[in-house]
Structures are given as C-alpha cells and as structure tokens.
Amino acid sequence: MSPSLDVGAVSRPRSSSAATTQRRTPISTTSDWTFDLIRELDHEIGLLAEEYGLDTYPNQIEIIRSDQMMDAYASVGMPIGYHHWSYGKQFVSVEQQYQHGMMGLAYEIVINSNPCIAYLMEENTFTMQALVIAHACYGHNSFFKGNYLFRTWTDAGSIIDYLVFARNYIAECEQRHGVREVEALLDACHALMNYGVDRYKRPRPISAEEEKRRQRERAEWVQRNLNDLWRTLPETMRRREADDERVFPSEPQENMLYFIEKHAPLLEPWQREIVRIVRKMAQYFYPQRQTQVMNEGWATFWHYTLMNRMYDEGLITEGSIMEFLSSHTAVTFQPPYDHPGYRGINPYALGFAIFSDLKRICEEPTDEDREWFPDIAGGDWLEVVHDAMRNYKDESFIQQFLSPKVMRDLRLFAIVDDDDDDAIEVNAIHDWSGYRRVREQLASQYNLGDREPNIQIARVDLRGDRSLTLRHAQHQRRPLGDTTDEVLRHLHSLWGFPVRLESVRDGEVVARRACPPESGGAD
C-alpha cells in the first residue's frame, strides 16, 4: 500500500499551538508498565503509524526476562533453532559479558516473520517499551514487509514453520547418525554459509508442508541424477569425446552450497538435506546483511517521529520524552575515528541521519539540495522516505541519498590504504571536490560483493580425479585471509575429492591453494 498524498498531508506534525489545544491525557505517568498499558501504547502508536502509511505485518509482542533475551541472542534471534555448539559459544560469551557488566542487552529483538515477533525485555521502563514498540513493531516490521530484498528473498509467513522443520530434521539426523557426524557437517556448511546464497537468481518461496513433502522425493531424485553425472560404466567412444569437451559446470557457480547439495558425489541424502537447510538459513539472513544501515535507520527514524508525535499529542509525559531522548541520543551517537570507543560507522547514526535529512530536503530544501537532489527537493517527504525504504539496499541507498550535509555533519573522510605505498592517503573529505568520492567509497563499503572475496566454483574434473576448482577473482589485489585453508578443508569434506582454489588477478593465476595440499601448490 502506498501512502496517498492526503495521508501525508494530514500527517504533518502539527504546529505546537495546534498540538496544545488538543492535548490528551498521558497514557501513564509512572515508569512501570503493565500489560494493559502496553496494549494501549501499541494501539495509540499503531494509529499514528497508520497515519504515516506504515504498512506492517500483525505484531506479536512477547515479554521476556533478561536470561531469555540472552537465549534469543545466542540463537541469532531465531525463536527456534537447531542445536549446534557455535550457538553455545555465542551464548556463553553473551552471558559472560552481561554478567560482568561489559554490555547491556538490547531492549528488543525483532524477527522477520508473519506475525512479526518482537521480544521486549521485562526490565524496560514504560517509556522504553513505548520506544521499543515504535522501533520494532512499526519501524522494523514495516521495513520487513516493504523492502524489496525482503519481499524477494524471504517468506515471512513460512519461516517459523521452516525453522521447526529444520530443527526436527536435524534432531532426527542426530539420533540416526550421531551428534558428532551432524556437527562436523554443520561446521562445514557454516564455513560456507556466506557462499550459500543466490545473489542474482530469484528464489521461489514455498511453504513448509510442501517442503517436507518434497524432501523425500528430492532425496531419491538427486541420488539418481548424480549417478548419471558420475557414471563410470563404459560408453561409446563418441560420447566420451563429446563429454571430454564438456566443461562442468557450464557457467561459474556462485552458490557453493547449492552446488554441493546438487552435485557432490559422495553425500548421503540426509547430508544433502542439511546442506539445504543451512543454505536456506543463509538466504533468509541475506537481506538483513545487506540492509543494516537502512533497516536500523528506518526504525530509528520512526521511533523518533512517533515518540515526538506522542509527546505532541500529550500521550506521554515530559519526563518520558526526556528519558526517550536520552536513550535515542545514546543509540545514534557516532564516535569520531580517534575515539577509544570507535567501532566503525554506527548504522543507527548513519541511517537515522540520512532518513532525517531526506525529510529535511523535502521540507526545507537549500540551493545545494536542489542541485544534488532535483527530483525530491521540496517534494512530499513521506513518499520519498517510503520509496527509499522500499526500493534500495544499503549500498544503493547511500549512493543515492547520502547528502553533502550529512557528510559534513558526520565529518566523513575517505582514506586509501595501499600496501605498495608507505603511507595512508586521505583521498577525499567532506568538501566540494570530495563529496562524490566519499559517497562512492562509503557505498562500496556496504557492498557485500566488495566486502567478501569473490569466489566461485569454476569447474569440476569429471573424467580425472573429480577435483573441484574454485576461482577467486582478486579485487584491489587483496589476498585471502588466514582461515582460507580451513574453509577449503571443510569444502573438501563435503565434496569428498580434491579441492583447489586459484586466485586470479587480471586473468593471471597469482596464488594456488589446495586441499589436500599438493606439492609446490601452496602460495
């Protein structure tokens, strides 16, 4: 549903005089929350959100204790997950840090599902619950429902069912084949998880029941199909010759887990199914990894807008809005690069700055804005922010909407660190000659394709040693990290035959690795 012009017009924040005339009684004047208050809060925020055209899945608000929050952390926010030691490790580390006071827990966790599940902590005050409801139940929720990546890649309606299926299936495998074996397989799959997504091909979402039904057919079918590929029975010479020229796969494959699932010669059917489960998880999380800045920025922008509206309408007290502002400021704080607490760019700060600036550009455009954003300057802000939310991901969002003003406010500067050079060069700053370059570099920083090495499956030696060859296209001469050999070992355990990795720069192989190692093959 797209917000009509009228809705936008109605929803402009009222001037303070207008607001004072129709101030209502606050929902609560104390800092304690009750279930009735939460219901009322949600109702009021929901009404305001509707005015702003936020289209959401139904909300499912769950109140949990702090130790349950730690559980939720450990399972990457999934309500149901299969068992694996790495989640235990995650849990142990969160528990450790929390108990030693080294970190606070998030106020909420929200899950991209339908209904959209949001966990609220019991410890939150009334104001914090309001903030969290606005942020998660209306901000993130509408992002999940509206953003094109989520619409394309995830199926919010069936994810919970699929998680249940995955958990039960893996538990069954553990019973049948031993915990150790399943764990080793999951380790291998997790190592390749980032390479288990289709980046360009569009998937077809299917329901969990169908998934279950298909699973058995698939197991048989794949095995039969494989045998055909790996047939070793003698054939006529002509066919062999034809086959020798055939390159398999005919095109490089980016989705390694998919390739393993379909073509690894030695895997048992249950192993293929587990590879598939991990692959599906990776695919489900793929949009989140690409929309961190936008998703958080969007949610922050809306909790800020909605809370201020609540205050204007008199639904929350002055004390509440002060408490809210102090939390909000802490969340959107961006430490400078030389600050001891600097951990890179804060996605909340950057995203919130851009969305707020979009609103400013529409409402109070300057000459600079007219030059940089002729399409939107002076336009309807509600339509502009909704359009940005729907049709972009971090990379393109920054490339499109990062304005000179935001760059100046955040005092962004770009550096180049080249190992051929003995010093780091500042190649652009927040000035007239640097805006474009800073923006470009920042955008590419959020491009997963740049962040992760570009590695694809190049070919399989069908008639020889059945080895699998990966091709790494080097970008900016950047070599692979030190865990590469270990990942290759995992890949080898899945493939069952030798695995080679070539790093290619300008069409030339500059480094080779292999598992099992080959003499003279290491770089």
């Binding site: 399972s75 550096i415 070599p479």
Partner: protein, 421 residues
C-alpha cells in the same frame, strides 16, 4: 492486530543444550584450565568456578575473508584536521589496518575466548574420569532418612488424605450395584403399567403401580455416600538407602614436618574430602595427628599446631583402629584413610606398622592412601609400605609428592578409573 504474550514464565535455559555441546567440544581445553587452576589456587577456594581461556585460533569459525594487504579504502567519521591529499604514516608500521577499527571487515576478532565455568561444572571437570575405588562394596542403609511414597489407596486414613475422586467412584459403583436389580424390575413394571393401561386392566395396573412406588422408595433409601465408600491416599514410609563415608586424615606432626609440607598435605586432604562429598550423602572426617603418640584433634589443630619429638606411626594407626571399632562400624560406613608423612619413622616401628595395617586395618577400610612428601630419599616406612602395596593392591596405594604441583596429578593417579578386572 497485535497479540501480546507473556513469555516470562517459559522455561529458561533454552541454550543449555548448545552450551553443553560447546563445553563438550572444548573439553580438552577446559580440563587443562581446570587442572592448571588446581595447581595455582589455594585449595580452600576450590569450591568456585574458574575462568577458562580458549585461544582464538582454536575456536574461530573459519570463513572466506580478505586478509591484510592489497589496496583498501575506507570511510571514517569525525574528521578534524585532514584535507584531501594528506598522507598519514601507518600506525605501528605494519601493512594493512585501515587507520581505525575495521572490525567488521576482518571477520573474527583476535582476542582469546574467555568464559566462566560454574562451580559445579568446575568440580565435574576436576573429578572427571576419577572414581572411588571399591565404591560398590558398601551401599548401606543409613538410619536417618525416609521417603514417603504413594502406595495406592486405603479404606481408612485421616480426612486430609481423602481421595475425593476415588471415593465418589466407589460410591457410584455401590449405588449402581445395589439398585441394579430393582431398576431392571422398575423398567419391566413401567412397561407392564403401560400395557395394562392399554388393555384397560385396572387391577393389574394398580398392583404394578404400588410395586413401582415401593421400589422407588427403596431406591431413594440407598445412601449417596456411605462410610464404606471412603478411600484415602496411602503413603508408606520407605527407608532410603544412604551411603556414608568417613575419611581418616592421618598426619605426622613431628618436628621434621614443616608448614610447607603440611600445606601440601592439606591440599591433598581437601581434594579427597571434596571428592568423597560428591559420592556420599554423608561424609565425616576424623583428624588424627601423631608424633610419638597419636591424638584425635579438630581441623585447625590438625593443620596448624606445631609439635616436636620423634615419630611413631603405628600409634596413629592404632588410634584409628580404636575409633573405627568405637564409632564407625565397617558394616555401615565406607572407610577411607589418607596418611601423609615426610617418611620419618622410628626404625623399629615400621615393621609394626606394616603388620598392623595388613592384619588389622586394611580388612576394614575401603581404601588407604599413603602420600610421602619429601625431597629426601625414602626410608624404612616407604619400603615397608611398598611391600604392603604389592600384597593389597586393591585397597592400598602410595605415592610420592615433592612439590605442590604434584598434588593433582598424584590425586588423579590414585583415583583413576580402573578397567573392570
């Protein structure tokens, strides 16, 4: 549309399985940390958790990622002094590292993984793959504990234990049983009345009606609830077999034993005590110290008071036998003894010790461990005990300790799980 759910009452420890898997995977690391901790820590604070450190390289989950080197660009906030074209010397002179923290880019951080084991987990790992020798010999009934168990229903009891369900069930069964015959007759009568009315037979109708009325009166007189219906929950007292152990600590406190040696002994005793406590519901400790004569003392005196004089080990053994005879009947107690000494003994006494142990004490005890804490060469007592160890391999063990670091390995060695012979 919003649903609000209170999940606070849901079970916690959803991650318990995952945590367990994690601990299982890093068992070797954890065991090493635990055994290091035992050497370092004063044994008195053994009853707490421990911090375990696992090197980052062992615990990282590998992924394909970019290594350092090549040409990389980054955007950072908070510029104060830079202008375009500035050249900044590399921090630390190393290649790579983008001026600030590019933590997200390089995958895992390099810090070691540190976490806390709980007290129970710590002790579990501490005593993992250790077991008490001859544990199964005496699992005996203690007199102290009883447990109430359900044992069906009884026909009498106190009102508090009335089983309402059973009672009503019983009452209903009784009512059905008592009225069955007359109800069958009542159905017949009703049919008869209807038939009589149809035929116009007034007399038979009257007779049948009066019988029906009599039967109905009779049925009403069957009580709804009768004393015989009452059923009570029955609980019976069952003795719970408890296993109990007594641990005898025997120590030489003659002039040759200095405080350092006693501390080593103390650690050994504490380990043994904790270990016994985990296996037996009741564990008592008896402290016997001796020089030329033996005395039963309390814990503080045992470890800290100093005495001088010669050494007669057999005096302690004899006192122990007396105490066993007096208070700890081997029928009901599992008896363990640990003797610590620097090896000094009155030369003529050692054969007496050997004889006394093998004839009088060893048949009574579950296990007798002797540790000799000395830097010097062994003396007569060690040689006498060595002979004993050969003869009573299942109940007697001896080890030699020179430094505090030996305590845990020796302890471990003494109580190692043995293959079932």
């Amino acid at each position: 549309m919003t649903y609000i759910i209170d999940r606070r009452l849901n079970s916690k420890n959803k991650s318990a399985v995952n945590r367990q898997r994690f601990l299982e995977r890093y068992r070797a690391h954890i065991k090493r940390a635990v055994s290091d901790a035992v050497d370092k820590r004063s044994i008195t604070d053994m009853e707490r958790g421990e911090e375990v450190t696992i090197p980052a390289r062992d615990i990282s989950e590998p992924v394909f990622h970019h290594g350092s080197g090549g040409r990389r660009s980054a955007v950072h906030p908070g510029n104060k002094e830079f202008v375009q074209g500035d050249r900044i010397p590399r921090p630390g002179g190393s290649g790579g590292g983008g001026g600030g923290g590019e933590a997200s880019d390089s995958g895992e951080g390099v810090d070691d993984f540190v976490f806390q084991l709980s007290r129970d987990e710590f002790l579990d790992y501490l005593f993992d793959d250790l077991e008490l020798p001859n544990l199964t010999k005496r699992h005996l009934k203690g007199d102290a504990s009883f447990k109430y168990e359900r044992a069906g229903f009884a026909t009498d009891g106190v009102p508090a234990k009335l089983s309402v369900f059973r009672t009503l069930q019983q009452a209903k069964a009784r009512r059905i049983a008592l009225s069955g015959q007359s109800r069958r007759r009542m159905v017949e009568l009703e049919e008869g009345i209807a038939e009589a009315a149809g035929e116009g037979d007034e007399v038979t109708g009257m007779r049948l009606r009066s019988e029906l009325a009599r039967l109905e009166r009779r049925e009403r007189r069957i009580p709804f609830l009768d004393d015989t219906d009452l059923r009570y929950n029955l609980h019976v007292k069952k003795p719970v077999p408890t296993s109990q152990a007594v641990m005898f600590c025997l120590m030489d406190v003659s002039g040759s034993m200095d405080q350092a040696t006693k501390d080593i002994a103390k650690r050994f005793y504490l380990l043994l005590y904790m270990f016994l406590k985990r296996h037996y519901e009741r564990t008592e400790v008896v402290f016997i110290r001796h020089h030329t004569t033996a005395r039963e003392v309390d814990e503080h005196d045992f470890f800290y008071s100093r005495e001088t004089g010669g050494t007669v080990v057999s005096s302690a053994l004899k006192l122990m036998k007396e105490i066993v005879d007096e208070r700890y009947s081997p029928d009901t107690w599992n008896i363990y003894a640990a003797q610590a000494s620097d090896g000094d003994n009155w030369n003529d006494d050692s054969p007496i010790c050997g004889k006394f142990l093998s004839e009088q004490l060893l048949p009574l005890v579950q296990y007798f461990a002797y540790i000799e804490i000395t830097q010097r060469s062994h003396q007569a007592l060690w040689r006498e005990y060595e002979r004993l160890a050969g003869e009573h391999a299942d109940a007697f063990a001896m080890r030699h300790i020179t430094a505090p670091g030996d305590i845990f390995p020796v302890f471990h060695d003494l109580f190692q799980k043995r293959e079932a012979a």
